[in-house]
């Protein structure tokens, strides 16, 4: 599976990833982060959705590089999965999933947090917030 999917991350997608967890019985810990579109208030308007766009080939390459880099840095990590939405994702829907499996919990959690930061930093994805009054605004990520 590529790292980009069209539209919000569905329960089916998450369920199918959850089923795959059980394949490697040497993993003791799976850590995940899911990013959701918030219905933030911005100057009297509410965020209704985010429209994500991406540089497809560079996003796939970047996700693969992040995954290799994490595995090289965390020797107990077995699997790194990165999935990001493109297109419209309504408030309350999921747009990012990072899932890291490791032998033990510590590296699963640390590597997952690190992967999320690298995704924010390096995945060529852009977001346009769309408000309740149908105006829009290209957003930059706030620093952590």
């Amino acid at each position: 599976m590529g790292c980009l999917v069209d539209g919000p991350l569905t329960n089916e997608l998450i369920g199918s990833l959850a089923s795959m967890l059980r394949e490697d019985k040497s993993c003791g810990g799976h850590s995940s982060f899911m990013g959701m579109v918030r219905a933030d208030e911005e100057g009297g308007r509410t965020v209704r959705a985010i429209e994500y766009s991406a540089h497809g080939p560079m996003a796939e390459k970047s996700a693969a590089e992040i995954s290799s880099e994490i595995k090289a840095q965390f020797d107990d990590v077995r699997e790194v999965t990165i999935v990001h939405s493109t297109g419209i994702v309504e408030a309350g829907e999921l747009s990012l999933l990072v899932l890291v499996s490791a032998g033990h919990r510590r590296q699963a959690m640390e590597a997952c947090a690190r992967t999320v930061e690298l995704v924010k930093e390096r995945l060529p994805v852009w977001k346009k917030e769309i408000y309740s009054d149908n105006t829009h605004n290209w957003r930059r990520n706030e620093p952590l």
Partner: protein, 76 residues
């Protein structure tokens, strides 16, 4: 005729996502054409990739090259 793709807010600046530019033999020449056409682009932060690789500085361009103009990423 290099193919130029604008990403993020730059699609609004250019008013389009994809455009072809004639007569640019290098990235530097292409930039001059683009800044002539969309003067506001100089106020924006962006990086350039040629054929899916980021570049720094200049590079000769051939007909079939694809040049991406990418503002700071904002995924997640």
């Amino acid at each position: 005729m290099a193919k130029v793709i604008f990403f993020g807010v730059l699609t609004d600046v250019a008013g389009t996502r994809v455009r072809h530019f004639n007569g640019a033999a290098s990235v530097k020449e292409l930039l001059l054409l683009i800044e002539g056409e969309y003067p506001e682009i100089i106020h924006y932060d962006y990086r350039i990739a040629v054929n899916n690789e980021f570049i720094d500085g200049d590079l000769p361009l051939s007909e079939s090259d694809e040049v991406s103009f990418m503002p700071p990423f904002a995924g997640g």
